[in-house]
Symmetry: C2
Subunit: 323 residues, 2 copies
């Protein structure tokens, strides 16, 4: 099943209260899409909130727009629970019970759909959309809502982060067409939004970056580069994990590196970000370990110590760079 | 005088041999624009080359496209000398005599025009274009030439580098409209071009980056950040100056930094890149020292030792961050 945005808009027009759910470890696309839709629904007189259960990363704070809440009781009668940028309950960990409160349940996502454990009343998946923000843009237009400055800012953040600033090969003509529209919104300033997202790195984070880069491991004649962010390093540098977000791009910027991996040691597990440059399929590697994603940007999780996770993953990465 | 692209296209259609000149210290917009136009002219059966006098930066090597030459005698009778992305003879240092050989002289640029010392037969300046590549795109269409893959790659490189990957506030709806077109060209892959430009940093350059960042100076309560690339540092790190190109962006990514300056000690002089984040006008600062550029991205040159250049410039930068 893949419902049309027109039919989803028709359903949503008839609904008065919505809780919108971004995935855990929220990123610019998840939060930007949720807040943009929340603002659009509010402009139609509906009660709407974005339901989160973790702190918003500092560089995305401007995407809250007064929409986020950690308390689902903010709406008494939830007519719709809507999941954005994800499609299964393990991506809204800690909020599953709240999500179940929705009389209707919906999902709009651009990730490839695995086995979802939720019975959605409506569902739209567009794996060819570079960002969920692109789909939300279309939905907002189907709702008949004008793109105002706040919505444009949220959707610009969503699309620019998920496309790697229009460089990744998920970017399409449509990505540029949609973003082009934002420049017609009074007051829109791509540089100001971009500076909020990218240009608030702390000096501490810069120091941590230096340490991560100088400790990189290389395999397969330099085609595989592996970095790690441990809890010990975060403590030493007075940093939080979200300050290491850009590190995988730095790893990929190295000449000759085809596959990059960044191991992130959280308090619960080891999360790994994987990237491919020209030909390697890192989604296939992630799948081996129960993860997933896109061909050139994927991820997986290990419930083992860091050393064990590396021992298991690195040989698969080495295989992936052998053409 | 500001000739229309239509009239310039009319002139160019009647001409059989063209030497195209990018500015010294060529960047992606200069070389990408020159090669794109060169390829377009060749597809019309004309003799065309891009005349350079310095090595092409490694990350831009794919923009040569068989177009570049360091020998202007490659064309015997130069019907047109065409300057792109610059508008005065001090920007084509070492090639002024060759430029004079053109029976006609033209200029197409997106920089604000200062006092030019050349008598151009045609001239087009579009300071509102984010990149000269945007103007060349229009010119190529006026010439009736189809945008093929090589041309799309050159113009994508031109526009994406000069807009800071569509983040700088010179970016417009038109920037996105033009780039959107490239996705309709068979084989176009933004990621592949982007990887060629940005993802071939050497490990040595990464090391140098660490050294530059750890030696940054801050002034005006951290609002002004100043970095330097000296000849000694280049020697120590086995790097060339073009490998430090991205450093000014790294400086600007620091929280609280409003103005960034990168002093580049060449064998001849001190070149300074200046950037503003939200409100500071660095073009005005550059002008004080005989330089120029855009409000948020400008540059100037000092014929003094590094320490003297810093002493002169830093107080002006401190003034520029006082609102």
């Amino acid at each position: 099943m893949n419902d049309s945005l027109r039919s989803i808009a028709t359903i949503m027009k008839d609904i008065n209260s919505v809780l919108i759910y971004p995935h855990i470890n929220m990123d610019g696309d998840a939060l930007g899409s949720c807040s943009a839709l929340c603002l659009a629904l509010r402009s139609l007189g509906k009660k709407a909130y974005v339901m989160i259960s973790e702190p918003v990363p500092k560089n995305l704070d401007f995407l809250e727009c007064g929409c986020t809440t950690t308390d689902d009781s903010v709406i008494e009668d939830v007519e719709l629970s809507l999941m954005l940028d994800c499609n299964s309950s393990n991506r809204i960990v800690g909020r599953e019970a709240a999500f179940e409160r929705g009389r209707l349940k919906g999902c709009i996502d651009h990730h490839a759909v695995g086995v979802t454990d939720i019975k959605f009343d409506f569902f739209r998946s567009e794996p060819k959309s570079a960002a969920t923000g692109e789909i939300i843009y279309q939905l907002i237009r189907n709702l008949g809502v004008e793109i105002n400055l706040d919505i444009a800012n949220c959707l610009f953040a969503a699309i620019t982060t998920d496309t790697g600033n229009f460089q990744h090969n998920n970017t399409t003509k449509r990505s540029h067409d949609i973003v082009g529209h934002f420049y017609q919104v009074a007051g829109f300033d791509s540089k100001a939004i971009s500076a909020l997202i990218y240009d608030r790195q702390s000096k501490e984070a810069l120091m941590m970056e230096g340490k991560i880069l100088s400790a990189l491991e290389f395999h397969a004649d330099g085609k595989v580069a592996v970095g790690a962010v441990t809890q010990a390093l975060l403590t030493e540098c007075h940093c939080t994990m979200d300050e290491a977000e850009g590190m995988i791009q730095r790893i990929m910027s190295i000449d000759g590196v085809e596959v990059g991996a960044l191991f992130k040691e959280t308090t619960d597990n080891i999360r790994v970000s994987l990237r491919g440059k020209y030909y390697a399929n890192v989604a296939a590697v992630a799948t081996v370990f129960g993860g997933g994603g896109h061909i050139k940007a994927a991820g997986c999780t290990f419930n083992t110590p860091l050393a064990t996770a590396k021992e298991q993953l690195i040989p698969e990465l080495v295989k992936a760079v052998k053409k």
